[in-house]
Every structure is written in C-alpha cells, then in structure tokens.
C-alpha cells in the first residue's frame, strides 16, 4: 500500500498551529519523529510512503536534513515526496547530495523524478523498476504502479 502523510498537518499538530514553515532542527526532529511513528503504526505493509509537503511554506537546510535525509537513512519504505515547490527543492537537493542520498519527487502529473546525488538517484530509479513499484510510461518517464 501507499501511506499518505500530510506534513503540514503533522507540523500544525505537533509543533505549532500558527506557523507553516519547516525551520529549525528541533522542529524538524519533532516532525520526523511523528512521521516515523505514523509509519511504524500503519496497519498494512507500507511499500511506499508519500510525504506530502503541500501547504508547507519554507523549508530550511536544517529541516531538510532532519526530516528528509534522516528518513531516507532509516529507510522504512520507499519515500516519495509530493507538493514540492522550487523553494523546497532548493533546500532538499544540496542536503541530499551532501549525504550522497537521493529521493523521489512526484510531480503534479504523477511522474517521478529522483533528486539528490546523481549516482544515488540513478540507483533509486533502477531499484523502483526492479521492485515493480514504478513503470516507465510511453513518454519515457516513471510513474508509481500503486495507486
């Protein structure tokens, strides 16, 4: 199954009902721990966790590291980020590249893109296809096989 996690809702419930920005390490830590708990308590086997950043304002480098990089390192399931703006990418990409990690971003049209360290990004896409979690579309892009 695909588990959907709304980061904005997690932020509002766990840290602040006022702010929409993912800034500071303490905030990132609390949000990541909530996401990890949600993943750990899923009733079905989670093949893909879709982490939705819609309605999240700014992400700083500390939160990108604390949330995305650390979730990838623990690797509970395949992570797919959605609702990612250019500003979010500006924080996430260099942080992942520094760790030699990569993550999948699901574009609004449903196609996937791997961002981060180039080697890790290529390996991630190959792994997705090998595990049949994604297929190549006629346009040459990748999309998730699970709904």
């Amino acid at each position: 199954m695909i588990q959907h996690i709304d980061v904005h809702a997690v932020l509002q419930e766990s840290v602040s009902g006022i702010y929409t920005d993912l800034v500071t390490r303490p905030t990132g830590r609390v949000v990541r721990e909530c996401i990890e708990r949600a993943m750990a308590t899923a009733t079905e086997t989670v093949a893909v966790a879709r982490i939705d950043f819609t309605r999240v304002g700014c992400i700083d480098y500390s939160c990108a590291d604390e949330i995305v990089a650390k979730l990838l390192r623990s690797r509970p399931s395949v992570l797919v980020l959605m609702g990612i703006s250019d500003g979010h990418r500006e924080a996430i990409e260099p942080v992942l590249a520094g760790h030699r990690l990569a993550v999948l971003i699901e574009r609004p049209d449903g196609t996937l893109e791997a961002v981060g360290a180039p080697d890790a990004a290529a390996a991630l896409l190959d792994e997705l296809v090998a595990r049949r979690l994604a297929v190549r579309t006629p346009g040459g892009t990748l999309a998730l096989t699970l709904a």
């Binding site: 602040s16 006022i18 702010y19 929409t20 920005d21 800034v23 500071t24 390490r25 303490p26 905030t27 304002g57 700014c58 992400i59 700083d60 480098y61 500390s62 990108a64 590291d65 604390e66 990089a69 650390k70 703006s85 250019d86 500003g87 979010h88 500006e90 924080a91 260099p94 942080v95 520094g98 760790h99």
Partner: protein, 307 residues
Amino acid sequence: MTRLVEVPAQFDDRSFDQFASAFAAATKDGERLLFDAHAAEWASPYGLVGLLAAGQAARGAGAGSAGSAERPLLTAPTQADVLTYWTRAGFFREGAELFEIHGKVPRLRSAEESDVLLPVTPVRAAEDVHAVVSNIQQRASAILASELGLDPKATMGFAMALSEACQNIVEHAGTGGWVAVQAYHWRRKLAKRVVVIAVADAGVGFRHSLEPTQSKRFGTRWGDAAALEAALIQGVSRFRDPGRGQGLAGIRRYLARWDGKIAIRSGTARIAIVPQWDDDVPLKEGLPAFPGAQVLIIIPEQGSTKR
C-alpha cells in the same frame, strides 16, 4: 567608577572594531560601563545588534567591582532623526532591558511600513526563529523582487538563509541574541539598493563552540580565525551528526547565486566571503576581542554589480 565606551558616529561593520577596542579596554577592570551614543549620526542594523550584544556582555559580566548586576548606562543619540530611526528599528524596545538609558526616547512603535524589514528582534529559542521567518516572508518578498530585482522564488531562499543565521545563536551561542533586517541604499561601494541581515550575540563564540571537536585537528593554528574558517569554509559543526554544518553552507550557496556577501566576526577574528563588488578582506586576525559572534549578510540589487 564608570568606564566610557564611545559609540562611533557612523556605527556599522567598518567602525565596529573601533567600538570593540573601546569595549575591550573598558571591561578590563569590571567597572560599570557607559555607552556614549549621544553623537551618533547613523547606525546600520549591524551596529544596533552589536551594541545590544555589548550591553548583554557588560550586564552578564556583572558589571561593577562589587559584582553587582547593575545595568550599563547608555546615552541615547541627541539628533532627533537618529533617535527616531533607532526607535523605529526596535533598538530601544530591546535596549530598555539591558541598559539604563539616559536621554529622551520617543514613544514610537517599531516600523510597520518602511525599509526596516525586520526590526531588532530577540532570538532565544527555536520558536523565535519560526516567528522571524514567518514575519519576514511577506515583507521581504516585495522588496527582493521589486527593488532588488531578485527572482520572486529567491524569497524562500532568503528566509532559509535568515533562519540558518538565527539558528547559529540558538544552537551555538549559549545565550540569546538579536537579528535585524533592513533594505537601504548602500553608497559605500555599490550605489545600489541592498538588503542587509545582521545577527549578533554575546555568547561563547565560534572558537569555544568548536573547540572540543576541532582544536586537535588544527593544532597550534587553533584560534578564532581557524574556528571561523572551519565553520564557514569547511562546514564543520560541533555536533558529530554528519548532517550538521548545513546552515552556513546553505547560506554560502544562496549568496553565491545572488552575488551576496557574508562576514562573521567572533572573538578576535573576522572572516568574509567577498564578492567582486566589495573590497573587504577574506580574513582578519588580531582584532580587539569581542564576545560572541556577529554575522553580516548583504544581498545587492541585481544587475551590473561587478565592479
């Protein structure tokens, strides 16, 4: 006895060492300090947050030979427009807690609609960083796009840089500090509009913060300059977590993209990433000692900034 610390008439990053020298000399014997700003003609955000850091340090040291916690004295600027600006910039709101202020301070609210994008704001905890980032985005967006010619997408990067600069206080200073953001016409080198972020604290400073993890690596070279180099150039952190040290690296990337400048002063050294349009030096050592860390970030109006 009271020791005098003269506030430079033009108080900014260039005259800060003169101020630091006077501060270092005056604090030698633990007497109460008098910061004399009556002749001040102009102060940059860097000057204002630096003056607050000096007040914090003087108060923290328990100024007074008997070890009393007497607040240092501050004579306010006498020029009406200077006084009004310091008030609008939020200086006296913060300074009232630190200094015994002498002089007539106008009752004004800090700026709502002006070039002061963020009045002098205290940063003590992560919650303060949230507030700063939230407050700045809407106001900075218009200035960055319309006046500095930055891509509107750059606003989020600006907020990220601001957040990381503030987090240095929360994570490393061991005390609170202040941040201020202002847009102004920078005549010194550019004759262009700039946005300036100034952050200052009177905490432990970079050398002390990094000493447990970095001093052995540098050996006899270890000191304030080496600590600043380690933090800004090499991206090291006092934390062993491999993800640490991202903040200053991220600020550098943002500034490289927009031809901006960063300078950090801590202890007796100052390091800078100097763009082509500026003639600052990359590293200064042997400066008058000043507690904590002071960060200056300048983002210029885009287009023809190369000298």
